[in-house]
């Protein structure tokens, strides 16, 4: 990124308030509150789903009923009343959309305000966007360009209609519905999300992007993303999220599955900026996400990059199952918590194939009264000869009321593999701060500079459009963190 851009960002940042807290007034089609088999049938029927999808949902729901909310994370979460949530909310459609003109102008306006233009001519160059508003995908841009390459990029609902075989084959293949409590819930009630298939040997010419927006009060968002990269293909995928400012908490439980076949590469980047709650910890999104990639074929590669600044509670562990020999998994993360935010996040790398490699770079930054935990699992199975993992998890503390914790689990059952984990925790260096101040930079700006520098290793993994956004977010998230 150009230096002046970096600077513009820092200059622009003058207010620490959440910028995306507005609410869009739009007619919604909503299910009644609560969860039972009828609601699931209702959702499935609304979406005109084939039987296999309904069956899948019901199996997941029945499994969910037998499960308990996980309590092992370093998080304090008030009890969630799952019967007090609306599981389906969609902007009312008058008819099938055939062009952008038919999208509700209120919606277009919402996304414009969020900096996401759905009009092709105004698009960020080289980024195809799928915009998800509450439960459903509103618009996918660039689809024609993509079609030329045989790439399927559409909402999950459309994929269920148009590519049922692919969906049936891969849904739940990486994250089975019984994987965990939130994955089971998502599998039962997921509303929409993005679907992406890159055919053999195709290098996707644009960045694919999904933008998630929670709008309606009392709704939960349960999106489902499935990415399949066929042999020798490549795709870079971006995900962004925001939500209005509300006093009550809202639930977001997503599932992302990635399958990379032989020689395929998938890069998945997230800038997560759900509403974090106010300065006193009121409101905010509960973000329980299961993201997992399967390096199914040999020499395949999946790389996760995440910048987590939002949400009242973050519970997510994007990981890779390295099944194919010589496959590679990567995880780069910056997680910032301020005020009363809580994050328990990290990665899982499961080495099964031979010569598999994984890298974990995690930078945690805690400020205010927040708690920020890295939790990771590196597992090397007996078969995974000559596998390697390197993990580095650093924590930076700003202020003496916050906490930074590191829980790395490492298991090996193989004598030719090497696993290394390193971590440090320290406060922001007073010498660095004074050095900046001596050059005339005030404390808040100096912290912004130093923190962005600290996170550089991760930020540089992001595609440029996102890197700009991410840098801004880091500075904004930390404003007011120094007294």
């Amino acid at each position: 990124m150009k230096e002046e851009e970096q600077n513009n960002i820092l200059n622009e940042v003058t207010q620490g308030d959440y910028k995306f807290g507005f609410v869009t007034d739009i007619d919604m089609d909503m299910a009644p509150k609560g969860l039972n088999e009828d609601i699931i049938r209702y959702i499935s029927k609304k979406k005109n789903e084939p039987d296999f999808m309904l069956e899948y949902r019901l199996r997941a729901y029945r499994k969910w009923l037998t499960m308990q909310e996980p309590d092992w994370a370093h998080l304090k979460i008030p009890p969630i009343d799952y019967q007090d949530i609306i599981y389906y909310a969609a902007p009312k459609k008058k008819k099938e959309l055939s062009s952008l003109d038919e999208v509700d102008p209120e919606l277009l306006d919402t996304f414009n305000k969020l900096g996401i233009s759905l009009e092709e001519q105004k698009l960020l160059s080289g980024v195809a966007v799928d915009a998800v508003f509450d439960s459903v995908s509103v618009k996918t841009t660039f689809s024609e360009t993509l079609e030329k390459h045989g790439i399927i990029f559409c909402s999950f609902s459309e994929a269920v209609q148009n590519h049922p075989d692919l969906v049936k084959k891969y849904v739940g293949s990486v994250v089975p519905y019984g994987d965990n409590y939130f994955a089971a819930l998502n599998s039962a009630v997921f509303s929409d999300g993005s679907f992406c298939y890159i055919p053999k040997g195709v290098r996707c010419p644009v960045e694919l992007s999904t933008y998630f927006r929670i709008n309606t009060a009392g709704t939960g968002q349960f999106e489902r993303t499935l990415i399949i990269a066929d042999e020798g293909s490549y795709v870079s995928y971006l995900e962004g999220c925001t939500a209005p400012q509300r006093d009550e908490n809202q639930l977001h439980a997503a599932v992302v599955e990635i399958v990379a076949l032989k020689d395929a590469e998938v890069k998945y980047s997230t800038v997560q900026n759900w509403y974090p709650g106010d300065k006193n910890g009121k409101g905010g999104i509960f973000n329980f996400v299961t993201k997992r990639g399967m390096c199914k074929g040999s020499h395949s590669k999946i790389s996760w990059t995440q910048v987590e600044t939002g949400s009242a509670v973050t519970w997510k562990y994007p990981g890779c199952i390295l099944l194919g020999d010589n496959s590679i998994g990567e995880f780069y993360s910056v997680a910032v918590t301020n005020n009363h935010q809580q994050a328990d996040t990290g990665s899982k790398m499961i080495h099964i194939g031979k010569n598999t490699k994984s890298t974990i770079i995690s930078k945690g930054i805690s400020a205010g009264f927040s708690n920020n935990s890295y939790r990771g699992l590196v597992k090397i199975s007996k078969r995974a000869e000559n596998s390697r993992n390197y993990s580095q998890c650093d924590s930076l503390l700003l202020g003496d009321k916050c906490g930074a914790h590191t829980f790395p689990y490492i298991n090996t059952a193989n004598s030719s593999s090497i696993v290394e984990h390193e971590a440090t925790t320290s406060k922001i260096s007073e010498d660095q701060l004074f050095y900046c101040q001596q050059r005339g930079i005030d404390t808040e700006n100096a912290i912004g500079l130093i923190v962005n520098g600290y996170a550089k290793e991760v930020l540089k993994q992001l595609p440029m459009e996102f890197a700009v956004e991410a840098q801004k977010l880091l500075s904004i998230s930390l404003e007011g963190s120094v007294g």
């Binding site: 503390l397 914790h405 590191t406 490492i410 090996t412 593999s417 696993v419 925790t425």
Partner: protein, 470 residues
């Protein structure tokens, strides 16, 4: 299901044993101790034995331990071991004051409690309760946490005897006190040892704590040790474990450190069936220093679990943890480190390292170095590695004409030596050094005496490689 079955049966047996023998178990108790014993028993009854569902026990399964029957001795055996002098270990030039627990009971020719010329009192805890009830009561059961797991509660309910050491203020004991735990019984034993060590202000104590078995009988030892280290005091603590493959040893030590005190504890595990060393350190005064080291060498079906919890409860303290292990055959090694830096414990320096060399694909290593930090002006780091010997180093050594086997031994020895070298008593260091070399060469059987190999003194094992060749 079977797991549950075994541990429940065992629990029920233990509960009824307690109820039947309640009067005898608490014969020496003060009123307060008796009350605490009942509270602990209730707690045990409630929670039972630890199981794999508990985070701290997820990788250590006691299932197989409960598959056997064990006997509890509620009084010391009448017969004395024939070879009592055989247990008097003496490393060349290493003058120790030895105290022995024999099958869980204090063993002595005459007095059960002695006072050294400098005022230090050592001997049987049961006897200390009788003679110094005030002193014992001031610290007994003060640093344990019976809610930590069922075994701590069980120990508190059942314990009858153990070692008692009291070092008065300003007394420096230059002679190392050696605590020897010997298991020698034909039938399976279940032992609940309880040790209490009190080190006064500015005092100094060096302890060598050995766990040995004398034969191949099955045993289950559940030891709880409390060590109180007062202001400015210094404790050097060495734990040597060389038990048979049928033994289970759950060793829980609570170190409580006051202002400016210094602790070095070093756990050296050479052999054992299932060994779990839980070390709790509370830095309860500013300027405290805790060094927690360990080395473990496991093979066959052995299981070693090292759990270290360092609580930086006050500001300006330093802690340093280093655990290294070599895991061979089907053995399993577990390391769980936990550093807690409490709010306001500013200027904390804490470091935590676990390194493992895994020699076979059948071996398993679980490591979890965990930091929990609530103060900002701190320097904390941790690291964990699991790997093999450095191929380049191996090649380098071989290129100097040393065979593969010896080259590997040499590197393994060098790997372990980092911890061994931290032993500050030269004579002890040398003899442990020898033991480690022997262990690595597979020459260390369960010795027919104590772990310190006194019998073989003339015949010290030399490492075959002349290091000067490299």
């Amino acid at each position: 299901m079977e797991t549950k079955y075994n541990d429940i049966i065992f629990k029920e047996k233990v509960v009824s044993l307690f109820e039947q023998n309640r009067a005898q178990i608490g014969a020496n108790d003060t009123t307060r101790m008796s009350k605490e014993r009942d509270v602990a028993f209730k707690q045990f009854k409630k929670v039972g034995f630890p199981n794999k569902k508990m985070e701290a026990w997820r990788n250590t399964n006691l299932k197989d331990v409960f598959a056997y029957n064990y006997n509890i001795q509620f009084s010391p055996a009448d017969e004395k071991p024939e070879l009592i002098e055989a247990f008097q270990c003496n490393i060349h030039n290493f003058d120790t004051q030895t105290i022995t627990l024999y099958n869980g009971w204090y063993l002595s020719e005459d007095k059960h409690l002695i006072t050294l010329p400098n005022g230090t009192i050592i001997g049987s805890l049961a006897q200390a309760i009788k003679e110094y009830p005030e002193l014992v009561q001031k610290h007994y059961n003060k640093y344990t946490n019976i809610e930590e797991n069922g075994l701590i509660a069980l120990n508190t309910a059942f314990s009858q005897d153990g070692i008692f050491i009291y070092v008065p203020d300003n007394v420096k004991t230059y002679k190392t006190i050696q605590m020897v735990n010997i298991l020698d019984k034909e039938d399976n034993l279940f032992i609940q040892n309880r040790n209490l060590i009190i080190v006064g202000k500015n005092a100094k104590l060096t302890i060598l704590h050995c766990d040995d078995s004398y034969n191949y009988s099955r045993s289950f030892t559940n030891t709880v040790t409390e060590v109180f280290i007062d202001e400015g005091a210094e404790v050097d603590h060495y734990k040597l474990q060389n038990l048979n493959d049928n033994s289970t040893l759950i060793n829980t030590t609570y170190f409580h450190q006051e202002l400016q005190s210094k602790l070095t504890t070093n756990s050296i595990t050479l052999n054992g069936g299932l060994i779990r060393n839980k070390i709790n350190v509370v830095l309860n005064g500013e300027g405290g220093e805790a060094n927690v080291f360990g080395v473990y060498l496991v093979d066959k079906e052995q299981h070693i679990d090292s759990q270290v919890f360092v609580d930086h409860a006050k500001a300006n303290c330093n802690s340093d943890e280093l655990f290294k292990g070599i895991i061979d055959d089907n053995a399993t090694a577990v390391f769980n480190g936990h550093i807690l830096v409490r709010k306001d414990s500013q200027h904390t320096n804490a470091s935590q390292t676990n390194r493992n060399v895994q020699l076979t694909d059948k071996a398993t290593v679980y490591t979890k170095p965990f930091l929990e930090i609530y103060a900002d002006d701190v320097k904390c780091n941790h690291g964990a590695t699991i790997g093999q010997l450095d191929e380049e180093a191996l090649f380098y050594i071989k290129s100097r004409g040393i065979g593969d086997y010896d080259a590997r031994l040499l590197l393994l020895y060098a790997f372990a030596a980092e911890v061994i070298n931290k032993i500050s008593i030269a004579t002890l260091r040398e003899s442990i050094d020898d033991l480690v070399k022997k262990r690595l060469r597979g020459e260390l059987a369960i010795c027919d005496q104590c772990v310190l190999q006194c019998k073989d003194q003339e015949n010290t094992y030399e490492f075959k490689i002349d290091i000067s060749k490299i």
